[in-house]
Subunit: 419 residues, 2 copies
Amino acid sequence: MAISNIRYGEGVTKEIGMDLQNLGARRVCLMTDQNLSQLPPVNAVLNSLAKYGINFQMYDNVRVEPTDQSFLDAITFAKKGEFDAYVAVGGGSVIDTCKAANLYASSPTSDFLDYVNAPIGKGKPVTVPLKPLIAVPTTAGTGSETTGVAIFDFKELKVKTGIASRAIKPTLGIIDPLHTLSMPERIVANSGFDVLCHALESYTALPYNMRSPCPSNPINRPAYQGSNPISDVWALHALRIVAKYLKRAIRNPEDREARANMHLASAFAGIGFGNAGVHLCHGMSYPISGLVKTYKPKDYNVDHSLVPHGLSVVLTSPAVFAFTAQIHPERHLEAAEILGADIRTARIKDAGFILADTLRKFLFDLNVDDGLAAIGYSKADIPALVKGTLPQERVTKLSPRPQTEDDLSALFEASMKLY
Amino acid sequence: MAISNIRYGEGVTKEIGMDLQNLGARRVCLMTDQNLSQLPPVNAVLNSLAKYGINFQMYDNVRVEPTDQSFLDAITFAKKGEFDAYVAVGGGSVIDTCKAANLYASSPTSDFLDYVNAPIGKGKPVTVPLKPLIAVPTTAGTGSETTGVAIFDFKELKVKTGIASRAIKPTLGIIDPLHTLSMPERIVANSGFDVLCHALESYTALPYNMRSPCPSNPINRPAYQGSNPISDVWALHALRIVAKYLKRAIRNPEDREARANMHLASAFAGIGFGNAGVHLCHGMSYPISGLVKTYKPKDYNVDHSLVPHGLSVVLTSPAVFAFTAQIHPERHLEAAEILGADIRTARIKDAGFILADTLRKFLFDLNVDDGLAAIGYSKADIPALVKGTLPQERVTKLSPRPQTEDDLSALFEASMKLY
């Protein structure tokens, strides 16, 4: 496994101008979104670029929950700019968009579908050298600063997919907990749910030595390797932090200890799932986001309907882990205990139900919408949700328990109402 | 922090020929030592090189506990060979020698002292590009496959020192637990003690945000950053594995689970200390090794006297942690508990004594020589041992508690006899 460089500490963003000098950067592309462009994290970066005389152009048109069109717009900007380094300041949407912009600007003759995951795209391996990318996360969820994954909404097919290659992993992630202090409550909650599911899914993913087919050449191994002794360490550690700090981080924006710990947990879980992979919650989340009707979440200042990624992931989690627990029930029980369940008298065969109940209680306490029905879906949507999950084989095949279309239908149905 | 790539699994060494093909290597330098050159780990590499038609030259003259002279011999070989990739198969001595050979062959006009740690050398930053180096550890101790450190014995000054730069970190570490099955008992024990001390020292090292001076440019930060939230995860995880598996791994060469876990723990502790640093046990170990008189350890097939690195480190550990515990006593107590102490009624002010007693019992159970006296030192040697520790400021300054020369004398004196 490979891990990006990360730097952690309050205020470390102010060094970014020096980092770019050290990289010899002469034309920097700074990417962010319009909400962030006036906020302290971007200001901190701008001040440092000015202090060290770094020449840059800013692209602040990143779409929250990006699409193929919004990726292409950023790619066009990047190609024109002939940049020699990239800085992404934002949540997963910004960092992912910047990864794609760097990739396609570095491989200008490639067709967009060339690097998109198969079966939607061609899933070609990246062999061109990319420019350095420094990621400055402002949410505590995606872990994108540590991974080689960039996710977008493929509008034509109404499905989320992505690009996955170690080559697009950021050169450096700057984890500055000061940036999380400007996050509104629901963004803290939803991005925290992403951390929760990264940890739970990577810890329960198919073990690395049971994955098949096993490529004969190591260079052809996928970014997602299955759970392994290293990703397990990160997953459990991140889960413990979520259990201890997520509620505090949501309830009190001034709780620096909680927000700083969740910011680190996001990176830790990212290192874990970036190597092990995720499975059903993530695989099923992509159509839940992609098929959104009119849902507009609180605290997100956007002009389009959207289901925030973390929410789309966590709503199926009780059903998913009740389903997967028959494989490795002891890991499911361990996760439930970390999240607060009393398992002293638990029976191992109840592990799935116990973890599901623990998750339901956790979500209820945090005022999460009551299932898929509460965000606009009904039973009639299930066939489309299942159809949208099938192309996510890259992740769904990492589920410890194989699943049929009927299984997926049942999981969506069980997720319509949680409480 | 940065972490090397590692690959883990029984038999993964057989892929090394493909890895070298993937790197485009045309002239490979294979380094090992004479004991290993006839053993299964080297055979596994040779078979893979043959299978994939990799052109290579073998250097099997690495000295166990290398010296400046033995480094220079390997460097001369590397310079002549004009290699485009390196493979190191062995313990820390081999991997460290290979790092040095790669560095100086890539920087042919540099003087040997240029990159050696100050104040003994000039401690210049490495700015030349190095060739890829794949490390295949055959012991479970050094963690050298994950670090940017190469240690040697400076004969003229009778002191151990080294080279420390992220630039010399291996490109890939291949952790193949099959290789540990050929390790004799005392090599398992002594290399395991190195893991134990890497974990204990990095967990108790000066915190990263209390280190000074704090370089104004991040590029000038030392490889050893002080304890931090990431290295803590690795240190504690490695310590738990040592507590569970080291005794089993020593006692039974057929205990694959124990030996595989110790092989991983070595890499995990390496990732931790490679970022956080070590402190007094390591700083004081260098003169203990460097001033060796006639001690010849069991199970080491060498023609010179030597104190194995892990033994030289662990013999002072009870005294060191009794000394450092007044800073962060709770961490010392936590470590004692992980190593088996019952701390339910412990007082926090006794943390140092409790950890020291726990370590003494641990070493006694494993038939470790009874202190520095048992390996040939007496009170009369203490001034020379202290003098040899002073140049190790790079690590000793990471001790949570500052120390005077009198403190060092007292620590050596307290380490003469353990039981």
